[in-house]
């Protein structure tokens, strides 16, 4: 890659990002005739993620694009901000997200919930990741890395679920079961 290619490609990605986000904003602000702008915006953003793979590298290009597109899109949003008068506070309630659920306080349920989100979720996620590494086809390094990536993803998912689900015993059963099955399956076969 020559010196001018990379900055040139980045400038085009940023331009594509600004144009794509602007088209989507136009679709969002119209009362009718949204579809053409929406599709044009989505297509331009998708293209801006894809073409850098050929110019900047098959992984480097899309990651560069995703990074720059986020900045470009936020620049478009920031440029369209609205300034509300100080007294608009009360009228703004309708724009707010729903209120979080209220739960009756219970020490044992809170302890169990955070145990599920923390250590039990971690063990279950590890069971999933390790059983993937052991049982999935492919090269050892690939299985281990993908198995490793599964761990934080599954743990994060388990955290989100257990902290939200009011049926806490169901979550307990699923996570404990996943941990037992995951580790059991891994130990049954061994790493080859």
């Amino acid at each position: 890659m020559t010196g001018a290619v990379v900055p040139g490609a980045m400038a085009v990605i940023l331009g594509g990002g600004v144009a794509g986000a602007w088209m989507l904003r136009r679709a969002w602000s119209l009362k009718a005739g949204k579809a053409p702008w929406r599709w044009a915006g989505l297509s331009l953003l998708s293209l801006s993620i894809l073409w850098p793979a050929w110019v900047l590298g098959e992984a480097r290009g899309p990651f560069t694009a995703l990074t720059l597109l986020s900045v470009a899109a936020f620049a478009v949003i920031a440029s369209g901000y609205t300034l509300r008068p100080a007294k608009a506070g009360r009228a703004a309630r309708e724009g707010l997200a729903p209120e979080p659920a209220e739960r009756a306080p219970s020490a044992w349920r809170t302890t169990l919930r955070w145990s599920l989100a923390g250590p039990i979720g971690m063990v279950a996620a590890m069971g999933l990741g390790i059983s993937y590494a052991v049982w999935a086809p492919g090269e050892m390094q690939t299985r281990l890395l993908i198995g490793g990536l599964i761990v934080p993803l599954a743990w994060g998912g388990a955290m989100a679920w257990t902290l939200a689900d009011s049926r806490i015993l169901r979550a307990t059963a699923v996570l404990v079961g996943t941990a037992i099955v995951g580790f059991g399956a891994a130990m049954l076969k061994g790493f080859t």
Binding site: G57, R84, G157, M159, A164
Partner: protein
């Protein structure tokens, strides 16, 4: 086909409220840690630039000859008391255009030297600020394994918050372009929180996933070792690292690197040696591992060559033949710190990193504003949170000033801890608005002082040092101006009220 009843789609209002409850609880539990890790990570994107800033007098070069490396390596070994375990040589690069040689002595001490283009040792590298900052981000200066795990756990909490945040956002498309500032504080904070969260989602996802994996790697490897290798974690690491040469502890003259450089040049004439690690250089069983960037556009583009003392190549790994797992492993650090696209990507990562830091801060602000709206304000927590938010920039700027005068990391940790505790103490004395104003003004003044003091005390030999000083000074002026603006708005409101 029948139309779905309004309000009965996915996610249902009950699910949204339940997920919001979890999102809020998790965000509050990890808020301070998330804020600290995100803030330090944002600054650590520029770790290489800060290393140059700390060593403005180092001679800059594009390459270094094998003879010069050999001379520097011999000189570094000669300066070490007792046997040498390893020597790690980082070659000059675009990001950091001078070489360093880290010597690990058998007694556990580590010394890192800077060399010039002739291979003369120019002195120990100064890296107290960079080391303080990166270690604070990586392990919070706690014992290594615990600290890294806690930061990894923070990454998981961030991932989880991203998942629950998306599920709890049923108006994700309807609100996609709303950015309403002023008026209701809660609405403003919610708009900023949601817009930054959604539009920078690929970045948030990438840094939290890579960070969580890097942080949890030790415990994951331990679990794999326990489950399938009878507790032998070395077998897991061996899958990713080059094999070790046969051990032979008989004393020998330091390994001659020059023929090995020639051998690497012959094998990879287009490559650029990025670093080499010499194992047990003064033993018969000495070995050297070369990492050579192959010049391709791959993210993980380093070939590896490992040689025995005799010059025999015992390990060769070409980046072009890496499998998916090896490519992911080689890309994790680059993607996490934004070191894959030069200055533009670093600046973009810093901006997005600031956004992520704001997400962590704004989540608590929304919670506090919601409580106030509902007539259940938490003034104590409002003060503590304002002290946390503004205490850290003040502490970090103070640490950077202290780093001008000491090469040791210890005093920096004490400075950071003292300022952080003092900021929390100030929460008992001042209301949140005053804390925020003092924090802004303090950080601004310290950054301006830093930008002025650095060239005076450390010199201006490197243009990067000047750029960093300029940037710090500008940020300082901006913060000071914002603080003064805040004061005048406050006065105007007070006058109007009276």
């Amino acid at each position: 086909m029948t139309k779905t009843k309004k309000g009965a789609g996915f996610p249902s209002p009950d699910l949204v409220r339940a997920v919001l409850k979890g999102h809020s609880g998790l965000g509050l539990a990890f808020a301070a840690l998330l804020y600290l890790v995100c803030l330090t990570g944002t600054i650590a994107v520029f770790a290489n630039e800060f290393q140059r800033w700390e060593n403005p007098g180092a001679e800059r070069m594009e390459t270094m000859s094998a003879d010069a490396v050999q001379a520097a390596y011999r000189a570094a070994i000669d300066r070490t008391d007792g046997p040498v375990e390893h020597v790690l040589i980082l070659m000059p690069s675009e990001d950091r255009p001078w070489p360093t040689l880290r010597v690990d002595a058998a007694d556990g001490t580590q010394t890192t030297w800077i060399a010039d283009s002739a291979g003369r040792i120019m002195g120990e590298v100064r890296e107290s600020w960079t080391k303080f900052l990166t270690r604070l981000h990586i392990n919070l200066h706690l014992p290594q394994s615990w600290g890294i795990f806690i930061v990894g756990l923070t990454g998981v909490a961030l991932l989880s918050s991203l998942i629950s945040g998306l599920l709890a956002h049923p108006r994700i498309f309807r609100d996609a372009f709303h950015l309403r500032l002023g008026g209701s504080r809660r609405l403003q904070e919610a708009d900023l929180h949601n817009r930054i969260g959604v539009w920078a989602l690929p970045f948030h996802f990438t840094v939290s996933l890579t960070g969580a994996l890097l942080g949890l790697s030790t415990i994951i490897v331990g679990a794999i070792g326990l489950a399938v290798f009878q507790g032998d974690t070395a077998k897991v690491y061996a899958i990713f690292t080059p094999p070790h040469p046969a051990a032979d502890a008989r004393p020998a003259p330091p390994l001659d690197l020059r023929p090995l450089f020639a051998s690497v040049d012959a094998r990879a004439p287009e490559g650029r040696i990025s670093y080499l690690a010499v194992e047990h250089p003064t033993e018969m069983g000495a070995a050297a591992l070369f990492e050579v960037e192959d010049g391709s556009s791959r993210l993980a583009n380093a070939d590896s060559y490992a040689f025995e003392r005799t010059g025999k190549l015992y390990h060769e790994q070409k980046a072009a033949r890496n499998n998916v797992g090896q490519q992911i492993l080689g890309s994790l650090g680059l993607l996490h710190f934004g070191w894959f696209g030069g200055g533009v990507i670093k600046i973009a990562y810093a901006l997005l990193g600031l956004g992520l830091t704001y997400l962590a801060a704004g989540g608590v602000n929304i919670w506090l504003a919601r409580r106030r709206d509902k007539g259940r304000p938490a003034p104590g927590w409002e003060r503590v949170w304002a002290a946390c938010l503004w205490g850290q920039p003040v502490a970090l700027a103070g640490v950077a000033i202290v780093a001008l005068f000491t090469p040791l990391v210890g005093p920096l940790i004490w400075t950071w801890a003292a300022v952080s505790i003092a900021a929390l103490g100030a929460a008992a004395l001042f209301p949140p608005a005053t804390l925020s104003r003092i924090g802004r003004a303090g950080t601004g003044a310290l950054l301006i002082a830093l930008a002025v003091a650095h060239p005076v005390f450390r010199g201006i030999g490197d243009s990067m040092a000047l750029i960093v000083d300029g940037a710090l000074g500008l940020i300082g002026v901006g913060l000071l101006a914002a603080s003064i603006g805040q004061v005048s708005v406050f006065r105007r409101r007070t006058l109007q009220a009276t």
